[in-house]
């Protein structure tokens, strides 16, 4: 169930160039149910940045009442977020949306987890939970360069991890799809979050196969709760063109092939 809470920043640090990791503490964590859900942050309570910023849960721990967000400080809202210090409060609305589905028993199953850039964060808690359910997890992560790469070691602790960078400064030079083409990585299920071209390439690879693919989508949002219709996408099988899903409320995770990627 969604709530609004002034959560306390318990740690806030730079992970890579312009990439921040923020850990928040509060009651809201008790309502988090799946990796892939997100929170909607008010970055500026008295100034002129009116819209909240959607950021995925990278990790959460109900016992500790803490959740971790990883974000790129890019525009003015995330820059304001980056200026906040440990001990300060942040107005958080959440948890929002539906995350990645994880079957209870995955003993012996192979799960392939694919992320690109700031699409990587929600995959961290996902991978933890997949592993806890018995899956053997393999990660394929893509970044622009070593400067902006993060969490490779953390993912390695959970399973085999392959990294690609566009400039070749870390791991293989190229895209995650190059790694997939090169290595036949066994997979019973695939999860992905990242830029649209990456998700499109994965859809081509897996939709129509027997391997289910779940993808997490992004769109510019206003309300984040399903009321403003900012974040809708078309359904694939819809001759009328009128049916839709709201990414904030019905997603952000969808089974690949369900909605049209735009």
């Amino acid at each position: 169930m969604m709530q609004a809470e002034r959560m306390r920043i318990v740690s806030h640090k730079v992970l890579a160039q312009n990439i921040y990791e923020m850990t928040l503490e509060g009651e809201l964590v008790q309502h988090m149910s799946d990796p892939g859900q997100f929170v909607h942050l008010r970055v500026d309570e008295h100034g002129d940045t009116l819209l909240r910023r959607p950021i995925s849960l990278a990790d959460y721990d109900k016992e500790m009442r803490q959740c971790t967000l990883i974000y790129r400080a890019e525009g003015q809202g995330t820059a304001k977020l980056a200026a906040k210090r440990s001990g300060e409060g942040v107005d958080v609305l959440g948890p929002l949306g539906n995350g990645f589905p994880i079957p209870q028993d995955l003993a012996g199953e192979q799960a392939l987890v694919i992320g690109g850039g700031v699409g990587v964060p929600p995959l961290y808690n996902l991978s933890k939970q997949l592993q806890a359910c018995g899956a053997i997890v393999t990660h394929v992560l893509g970044f622009a360069s070593a400067d902006v790469a993060f969490y490779e070691d953390r993912f390695k602790q959970l399973g085999a991890t392959y990294v690609a960078t566009v400039d070749g400064s870390q791991g293989k030079q190229g895209f995650v799809t190059d790694i997939l083409s090169e290595r036949a990585i066994a997979a019973d299920r695939v999860y992905a979050c990242g830029p649209l071209p990456m998700l499109r390439a994965l859809e081509e690879r897996y939709v129509g196969s027997t391997i289910p693919l779940y993808i997490s989508l992004e769109q510019r949002m206003a309300c984040g709760i399903g009321a403003c219709m900012a974040c809708v996408c078309h359904l694939q099988e819809d001759p009328t063109g009128l049916r839709y899903k709201k990414i904030c409320r019905d997603g952000p995770v969808f089974k690949a092939g369900e909605v049209v990627l735009t």
Binding site: T49, L51, L93, R220, C228, A230, C231, V232, R249
Partner: protein, 314 residues
């Protein structure tokens, strides 16, 4: 005026909308209420303005549909809605769980569209009044001509009045050179009230793609940025017409509400602020009496048009 110990009367009796307080969510910023009903009891609201209804269902514009601006946002939703038939079968039936009066927003691209939707909605017992959206900047086909040419707006208003027994509010566009002329034209055509303002047409560019951020290129500016424009227009119009005004445009605080009343609005609607704080409407309703007491106001209606009315002390 009072010494501050009496209860404050927040009620406003508008045509078709007996409101227990002057605050309602604005059309398009509240959908049909379902999402907010999970957060609070909708019966605390003075009224509810529901999302625009069109004759046929509409998907609306491609995404991105919103872009942020300084103290505001642009939207080009494109009037996405399930069509009047569905709204009457589902959304308005669901709203029967609540007593709060409903202001039903209507959009269209032809006169016939407006009349069809107005006739249908007038059959619905849950609708208290109609709000003609003649000012949506986000539909290419015609929509905005109704809002920018006084004769066209007046003719539409008159025709809707002729097919409906319900009070009709006309929602004015700020994208005109003479808002007073527009307001007087629809008043003479029989409008029972005015809603003002709708969004101001605007644009933003994406420096990565070197193209407009919105897929629709242009969108409607809302939020705090447009507040002074709305207040000025309400100030001018309220002195030139005798029908009540529902004021909107960037309201976020109790003091903002009071500014709109002072300018001449009888009630206010809250749009964009619902996205920043989904509890903003009940919060404002709760905070209003205390602020009014501090101002020694016992009836909220004392404030309406106070900035320009010669006040007669009781």
């Amino acid at each position: 005026m009072t010494d501050g110990n009496e209860a404050v009367d927040l009620s406003v009796d508008l045509p078709g909308l007996p409101m227990k307080n002057p605050i309602m969510p604005a059309s398009g910023c509240f959908a049909f209420g379902q999402e907010f009903a999970e957060l609070y009891d909708l019966d605390v609201l003075g009224a509810i303005a529901i999302k625009a209804a069109t004759r046929e269902p509409r998907f609306g514009n491609p995404t991105p549909r919103v872009a942020e601006t300084a103290a505001g946002m642009l939207n080009a939703i494109g009037l996405q809605n399930p069509g009047v038939e569905h709204i009457m079968k589902e959304e308005l039936r669901w709203l029967e769980h609540y007593q709060t009066p409903v202001l039903a927003n209507i959009a269209g691209s032809t006169v016939d569209d407006y009349l069809f939707v107005a006739e249908q909605l007038s059959l619905d017992p849950r609708v208290g009044a109609l709000e003609l959206n003649i000012s949506c900047p986000n539909v290419k086909e015609g929509g905005i001509a109704f809002g920018t040419v006084p004769d066209v707006a007046a003719e539409l208003t008159g025709k809707v009045k002729a097919v409906s027994h319900l009070p009709v509010y006309v929602k004015l566009s700020p994208n005109v050179s003479d808002i007073v002329e527009m307001a007087q034209a629809v008043e003479h055509a029989g409008a029972d009230g005015l809603s003002m303002v709708n969004t101001l047409l605007g644009m933003r560019m994406d420096l990565k793609t070197l193209t407009p951020i919105l897929a629709n290129k242009m969108g409607g500016l809302s939020g705090a940025a447009i507040k002074p424009v709305a207040i000025r227009m309400i100030y001018e119009v309220s002195q030139a017409v005798s029908i009540p005004i529902i004021g909107m445009g960037g309201i976020q605080s109790v003091d903002d509400c009071i500014e709109f009343l002072l300018a001449g609005a009888s009630a206010v609607a809250i749009g964009t602020a619902n996205f920043t704080d989904p509890w903003v409407c009940p919060n404002l309703i709760q905070a209003l009496p205390q602020r009014l007491k501090a101002m020694h106001v016992t009836h909220i209606q004392e404030l309406v048009g106070r900035s320009w009315k010669a006040w007669v002390t009781q």
